[in-house]
Symmetry: C2
Subunit: 398 residues, 2 copies
């Protein structure tokens, strides 16, 4: 086969494998990594027999990735066998073309390099609905995630953050669900200034916009950004796939921000995926009376998350590429902020309405008359003290 | 002099010194530590000359405590001289007795041992208004601090925390000011179960209840708890003394909790004192739209503070003596929490209304029929799957 044909065959093989194996099927991913996608598919479908050497390699690879005991390839083959008859990768690829999309595999120019940080958990391929625009690097991408049952607080914070991140050219990744996810996509679509304002990573196939209440929104995300999934068209969004999908959201972005989450929430799962691969996690604080902030506070308490209250703080977590922004909460410095202890004591001793002599000030302040005179000079220069007929008072700024 | 007379003389000397020197007068504290209170007072008032040896000792002591350059005892003497004529320690001690209080010095049985953690910054004495009840150990004492201009959120959180801490027998320390401080004292007075429910540490003399709007509250604190200050009766609560007072609040308690604070706030100063002497700092999260929570979020971001959302979390910070409390936010574990990945996938594949055969489930779940059968057995035992005429569906709990 010439290289182009090999590449095409590899692509078709990965399309098939992504239907055969559930996301993050450790044995399957190890098989593909060891034998390659083409032979891996032939082995997985029973057309080729895996020798003991290959099996040993897979065992070592799995052991190196935390799977200590592996029942062996036979058990996996049994798991995959029921789906072999359903494989139709060319049909799936055609479907994507028809939907104005494509499928990408590791090594493609369009493949997001940051997914390599998932190691053996890197997906076999991505099914992508939307225009052919490059997916930004991790440091230009922020994940905003949270509960479906968001409060008005969560909605407003998410909308503001997504809009503000969009204005700074960041891509906002989320999961396309109701609540925080939807507000994140919407805010990014309206604020976005870059070529890909937002990405929705789905747990099911991208042929269907799920949940149906978000259909219009997800269509807009596909038109202006990207809708991605690692499962092929037609796949149902099962609970298991939701949990695995979260690792892709975490891996695409430099920072995962949890805006609102209950004590138990899928958003915390995304945060843990982010931590696992060394990405930053931000959590938005909220009222301690709001159950929808309990998960965020849990993340803050556990020490894994950084408290974020504005877009500037999120950008800071994303690293040096984030433009520095003046902290808008910074209140103007008080005039007496830089004073020495002695001058602060003296300032305290100065009357506001009447005036006071140097000797009197020395007693009140507990300073020598010389120190009082020197201090009054300094305070006078700063506009904090004023003299009237040889006696002193605090000036209006003091 | 016999020992008792020496002790009385020392007490009178410290009473005088506390009027002569401002709180945390480094040179003064070093002088007392080096020469003792009695000779220290004689030197500070010019009755005794400090030899070069003593001066060298003070210089070393100050250098060891971070004061690199010291102008020498002469400069300090000039600072203290204007107040020498005003000293009347016996009168001050009589005043305290008349107010139903006392003055305590390090070494007294009633002296709170935890103040020793302040090192050279330990106060010379404490002026104490209230009954003669032991001040609890740090691990039974919690500081609740925050802004004067508290919001209704801050008021309710502070009240709840103080009441709950009181119910658990903790002593609540605060600064007697309006806002968070007042809510802390009030909550502790109503919830308190121990012999000293609350302590107010004042910046000015304890003869006057300041601010006047808190007079009734502070009278109640003195009656049921304690009102303390390191400055003698009649001293004005200057800005400088407020800042120094904060170190006493921090040192008395094992944990300083900042409930509400602006970006710049005296409460942050208390938190930094606490950090400096290795005490735990808690910060209460709030809305990112509330300027009164910006200081708390700043503490959380800087990494020095732990996010606290209830009394149990505060008690946890106070250490092992805090009674463990079940986390009331803990939601009941979902039935599927402990499942293996395979069983989770299988559970997802089980239909809710119709039923499905083992072979069909094998295809949908991507598992071998043997695995499906084994998994259905496990799910059935957990009450998550149910069989009807040889086919399977999810049971109501699944």
């Amino acid at each position: 086969m010439n290289p182009q044909t090999t590449k095409d065959t590899e692509r078709v093989a990965r399309a098939a494998l992504s239907r055969l194996m559930e996301p993050q099927d450790a044995a399957g991913l190890a098989l593909v990594q060891t034998a390659g996608a083409i032979d891996g598919l032939r082995i997985a479908t029973g057309q080729l027999k895996a020798g003991p050497e290959l099996e040993q390699e897979i065992t070592s690879l799995l052991a190196g990735n935390g799977t200590a005991s592996w029942p062996g390839i036979a058990a996996s083959l049994k798991r995959w066998a029921p789906r072999v008859a359903d494989l139709a990768p060319e049909r799936d690829l055609t479907t994507m073309k028809r939907l104005g999309g494509r499928m990408i595999v590791p090594g493609d120019d369009l493949w997001p390099a940051q997914l390599a940080d998932l190691g053996i958990q890197e997906p076999l391929c991505l099914w992508w609905r939307g225009s052919e625009v490059e997916i930004p690097l991790a440091r230009r991408t922020i994940a905003l995630v949270g509960s479906r049952d968001s409060t008005s607080y969560g909605a407003s914070v998410t909308g503001d953050f997504a809009y503000g991140l969009g204005q700074r050219g960041y891509t906002v990744v989320s999961g396309g669900a109701y609540g925080i996810d939807a507000h994140a996509h919407r805010g990014a679509l309206s604020g976005g200034t870059g070529p890909m304002p937002t990405i929705a990573v789905m747990a099911g196939g991208v042929d269907r916009f799920y949940p149906s209440g978000n259909e219009d929104l997800l269509r807009a995300v596909a038109n202006q950004g990207a809708v991605l999934a690692e499962v092929p068209p037609g796949s149902a969004p099962t609970r298991y796939r939701f949990l695995q999908r979260n690792r892709l959201i975490a891996a695409l972005a430099a920072v995962t921000v949890v805006v609102e989450a209950r004590w138990r929430s899928g958003a915390l799962n995304t945060a843990h995926h982010a931590e696992t691969i060394g990405r930053a996690v931000g959590a938005v604080p909220g009222s301690i009376h709001s159950a929808n902030s309990a998960g965020c506070h849990r993340l803050l308490r556990d020490g894994g998350a950084v408290c974020v209250t504005d877009v500037g703080e999120i950008a800071e977590l994303a690293g040096p590429s984030g433009e520095a922004l003046p902290l808008d909460q910074e209140e103007p410095a008080a005039a007496h902020d830089g004073l020495t202890l002695e001058d602060l004591i003296l300032l305290d001793a100065l009357p506001l309405r009447s005036t006071s002599s140097v000797d009197k000030l020395a007693v009140v302040a507990g300073l020598s008359p010389e120190s009082v005179r020197a201090g009054l000079g300094r305070l006078g220069l700063l506009g904090l003290a004023a003299s009237e007929r040889g006696a002193w008072k605090r000036s209006k700024n003091g």
